[in-house]
Amino acid sequence: MTIMTETVTGLAARADGVTKAYGTGAAAVTALDDLSVDVQRGQFTAIMGPSGSGKSTLMHCLAGLDTVDSGEVWIGETRLTGLGDKGLADLRRNRVGFVFQQFNLLPTLSAEENITLPLAIANRKPDQAWFDTVVEAVGLADRLTHRPSELSGGQQQRVACARALLPKPDVIFADEPTGNLDSRSGTEILRFLRRSVEEFNQTIVMVTHDAGAAAYADRVVFLLDGRLVHELRDPDAETVLDTMKSLDT
């Protein structure tokens, strides 16, 4: 029991024997197949794998956006399985951050309001010094009053990153955050994510198709048909590419 608790404390998120299938009968698709994965605190984890391998599904299950058919999912010391809608919503607001590929922002709010939205929903005031630090880090100090329609795609993604970081969540999940951006804007986002891991000890899980992006991570896990098939530590772009090729065959 004691040992169990200890292992859990060291982890930001954990999937344990998770199975998830869509549809029923002959048309059933097993998106996740008895998959277990640990996410260490303060680590930048990349998830890779071919299209349809279950990356997004895994991320949604880890983040409490989707339910699993069997197995358990933990965020920090909280077990998600069995948490009600209200519990999940509160968890997503306070302990999980999101960056999607696109449409991350509310068009009616300014950049600043978008960044502070999760705190505002919880009726919390952001810590001003921390807010300034985050805004400084994403380089948006002079864009705070702008509406999303007045920002470039890269700037919008940076606003989304700042929003994810501000509540100091246990984990930030990013699903192809650079997928819609040119390489320069993409690099800015990846640098920022890397920096938040190093300077603020933030835990990040990122889904990507890009070997260059994966190279920013501390660790890359590879999925195939809903199973974890390979893992790399401190990867560089080349090894990642090689692994992808070997998995494709």
Binding site: D66, D85, K86, T108, P118, A120
Partner: protein
């Protein structure tokens, strides 16, 4: 392209249903009004045609004043004279007059809305009457009654019935119940009491040996027209001689005065519904097309021509319009069937015809429905086809349009309208003040509609702050402010409805205050004996002359009541006032309220100059306003036509200042007894001795009129409240009608909200993903709906209130009274409407599936 359109139609069922619903509602309202009016109109005509089917020629005395006064009876000698006319097979004197008021089992006079309460002379089973039970009356204390009355009051053969006529309440034995040859128990809802002929002459016409009219049937081979001409030649001037057909047309058109009121009310309602329906349809389609701007742009990018795009939207609109209008017409017919039975139940009338479906009118309603749908769809479609494909593919292209054009377009009518109102209030418009006011209000309303988008930009944040203290609330408020045009058109219905309500509320309240103040200052009496509506007619405030539709003989009581009241302990003074309507001949000939009484006693009670003389037989006192209006002066003479006296010349002996309770010619009581419709007084005033016990004397006076079910004894406050209360009914009716348009307004908000939420699925998913609870989502949507409805409500009430205040000022009412409580209630209703409208959309928003929404493109 057509195939693609049809596929698209089926794929968007929810939206189509919402759009169709708007059309259905509008068309239903209009066609229901048309069918109901046609049905009632036809019913009336049929009744009068059958009533006179066995009459070839009818003779009555020419009304002795204009059309407004009562035609004097025809002496029996005329009947004898006509017996000798060539070509007549039969000649009969008829007694039939309105004013036989039966007392119901609850001790109150049986009241029917609209149709007359006739007292007739029994002439056997001639004409249309057919005995169902018992026999006709043969003794002075016997009556037969029609089956309609028997049913209303639960009267039976062998029982008794109390009837008030020109004479006070009398009890009769019911010896017969009769129906009519068309099988019905009442003609158009009227009640009938049949007396023996001498009794009917005395009670209904006020004199022996007179008839209300004489009817003749033509001998074989003689046409009604020939007989009519023969009778006219014989009798000379002073008589109205008409064939049965002419008479039917005449009576039917009299009856139609009542129908006209119904028609106006129904048409006003359907016009309002149509207007509101147009808003709803317009809004729905502009949202639908806006949502598809991206899709349309894609089609355009793929090479479709602009004409094809607009064409596809049009095909959709035609299909929706035709289907929904057809459903609307069908529902309209169903609704009028319901309305018909309600009206039958209400008036006791059994319309002898089935539902009349006026095909041409319904085609118009159908066409209007289709046309409005087409225009509503075409405008946004043309706009969408002009958006460059690239811009359209960007999410919020439709929301960014500038408001400059619409603001300028609205500022012009708004400025002219306000100028018109200002001119009317300031009195620069002279005699045209009401035209300036009405035109000004209409223009200002158009201006307001066009300026609402701008106003929403300025006011929504303010209104929103009041309602949105939390973050979900703030998000809702921002959503409401997102598209000012859409918000404006969504709240348009509420603005119009609450504008009307607010205006009417202010005017009605001011009138009430005005009336009660007037009663309180003009009336010195401590107690007033009167029936419903009498005091109003005495002062000419409403109602005017008794018309065919109004047709009521005023509640009256015996003169001896006053003499006995005078003898009661604690009574200082008691006096009677006779009330009627006469025709006056002068510079502005027409009907006028007329009164009679002992001036020496009335003067102190009504606050008149004490020096007024008691009047002789052909003397009159006139109020200063009437003198000025008619170009008359004291010392001269005036010609007046009284209902039973006809035209006579009176000497003007003095004048008085008119007030709420007295206006027009005042005659001597003796003249009234002889020449007014009713020889009985309609108002009695009692002044108490100082220190007398008001409640005790009131009870004693009440005892004196205990056997009269039509009159009551009121103290001053009751009288003021009664007078003011006359406005209530009209006001309530208006509110009920407007309530229906509020329902449509709520549907409009639901529609907009539902469509907006579909449009924002992606955002809703995002909000859920970053941690909004379901309750937060509900809160957000409710806030959006509330902000819109409160904004619309405030805008409407403010506009209506100001317009009402302008009316009060132009009409010269004593005081502007604002019914804050009612206004608050109406605003509360707007809030309730907002809550109601948010129910379904907020549930939908709370149920948004996060993953599906995120995957949604």
């Amino acid at each position: 392209m057509l195939k693609a359109t049809l596929k698209g139609l089926l794929a968007r069922k929810t939206r189509l249903v919402l759009a169709g619903l708007a059309v259905v509602l509008g068309v239903t309202a209009v066609s229901a009004a048309m069918v109901t009016t046609a049905t009632i109109g036809d019913g009336f005509e049929t009744i009068f045609a059958t009533t006179t089917s066995e009459v070839d020629v009818s003779v009555s005395a020419e009304p002795n004043g204009g059309a407004a006064t009562f035609a004097p009876p025809v002496p029996a000698s005329v009947v004898d004279e006509l017996r000798g006319v060539r070509g007549a097979e039969s000649v009969a004197g008829v007694v039939s007059a309105d004013g036989a008021r039966p007392v119901g089992p609850d001790g109150k006079v049986i009241s029917v809305q609209g149709p007359p309460r006739l007292g007739v002379a029994w002439a056997g089973e001639t004409g249309m009457a057919r005995l169902r039970e018992g026999r006709g009356p043969t003794a002075p204390d016997e009556v037969a009654i029609n089956a309609g009355l028997a049913e209303l009051g639960g009267f039976r053969v062998g029982g008794t019935i109390d009837v008030l006529t020109l004479e006070p309440r009398q009890t009769f034995r019911v010896v017969g119940v009769y129906g009519y040859s068309n099988g019905l128990g009442t003609l158009g809802g009227s009640t009938e009491v049949a007396f023996t002929e001498p009794v009917a002459q005395r009670l209904m016409l006020g004199a022996p040996d007179v008839y209300s009219s004489v009817t003749l049937t033509a001998a074989d081979g003689v046409s009604p027209e020939a007989l009519r001409d023969e009778v006219t030649r014989l009798l000379g001037d002073g008589f109205a001689v008409r064939t049965g057909d002419e008479l039917a047309a005449q009576t039917a058109s009299d009856g139609r005065a009542f129908l006209d009121i119904v028609r106006i009310v129904l048409l006003a309602f359907s016009g309002l519904s149509l207007l509101v329906g147009i808003f709803l349809i317009l809004n729905t389609f502009s949202i639908l097309v806006a949502q598809r701007t991206g899709e349309l742009a894609l089609v355009a990018a793929l090479g479709a021509r602009r004409r094809q795009i607009v064409g596809s939207v049009l095909v959709e609109a035609v299909l929706v319009g035709v289907l929904a209008s057809a459903v609307g017409v069908g529902l309209g017919i169903a609704v009028s069937t319901g309305l018909k039975s309600v009206m039958e139940a209400q008036s006791g009338a059994q319309l002898p015809v089935g539902l009349v479906v006026p095909m041409p009118d319904l085609l118009v309603a159908f066409g209007v429905g289709v046309l409005v749908t087409l225009v509503a769809a075409l405008v946004p479609a043309v706009r969408a086809s002009r958006v460059p494909p690239v811009a359209a593919m960007r999410a919020s292209a439709a929301e960014q349009r500038s408001l400059t054009g619409i603001t300028v377009a609205g500022a012009v009518p708004a400025t002219i309208g306000v100028a018109g109102i200002a001119a009317a209030v300031a009195g620069w418009a002279g005699d045209l003040e009401f035209v300036a006011l009405g035109g000004g209000v209409a223009l200002a309303l158009i201006g307001l509609a066009l300026l609402t988008p701008l106003a929403s930009r300025v006011l929504l944040p303010a209104v929103g702050r009041l309602l949105s203290w939390s973050t979900p609330g703030k998000l809702g408020r921002l959503n409401a402010a997102r598209n000012p045009r859409r918000t404006a058109i969504t709240v348009a219905t509420l603005v119009v409805t609450l504008g009307l309500v607010g205006g009417v509320g202010v005017v009605a309240e001011s009138l009430r205050v005005d009336v009660s103040t007037a009663v309180a200052t003009d009336l010195q009496a401590d107690l007033v004996i009167s029936g419903d509506g009498v005091s109003a007619r005495a002062g000419g405030q409403t109602g005017g002359p008794p018309t065919a539709a109004d047709g009521r003989v005023m509640p009256a009581f015996e003169e001896s009541v006053i003499d006995r009241a005078r003898d009661l302990d604690g009574v200082a003074l008691a006096t009677a006032q006779y009330v009627d309507t006469v025709e006056i001949d002068g510079a502005a000939p027409g009907p006028s309220p007329a009164n009679a009484g002992d001036l020496s006693r009335l003067a102190p009670v009504l606050g008149l100059d004490p020096g007024l003389p008691d009047l002789g037989r052909n003397e009159v006192v006139l109020d200063t306003e009437t003198l000025a209006e008619q170009g008359l002066s004291v010392g001269g003479t005036v010609r007046l036509s009284t209902p039973r006296g006809g035209w006579q010349e009176y000497r003007i002996v003095a004048s008085y200042e008119p007030n709420f309770l007295l206006r027009g010619p005042v005659l001597s009581p003796e003249t009234a007894k002889e020449r007014f419709v009713s020889a009985l007084p309609a108002l009695g005033y009692v002044e108490l001795e100082p220190g007398a016990d008001v409640a005790g004397v009131k009870a004693a006076v009440s005892d004196l009129v205990a056997d009269n079910p039509e009159v009551t004894v009121a103290d001053q406050t009751q009288l003021a409240a009664d007078s003011a209360g006359r406005l209530d009914l009209a006001e309530i009716m208006l509110y009920v009608l407007l309530g229906l348009s509020v329902v449509i307004g709520i549907l409009g908000i639901i529609n907009t909200m539902a469509l907006s939420i579909m449009e924002r699925t992606r955002e809703l998913g995002l909000l859920r993903a970053i941690g909004m609870r379901r309750s937060h989502m509900v809160h957000m949507v409710v806030a959006e709906s509330l902000v819109m409805s409160v904004f619309g409500g405030l805008l409407g009430l403010t506009f209506g209130g100001l317009a009402g205040a302008a009316f009060v000022s132009v009409a010269g009412l004593a005081e502007l009274a604002v019914p804050w409580l009612s206004l608050a209630v109406f605003l509360g209703l707007a809030v309730a409407a907002g809550l109601l409208a948010a129910l379904a959309p907020s549930a939908r928003a709370a149920r948004v599936n996060v993953l599906a929404a995120i995957a949604y493109e």
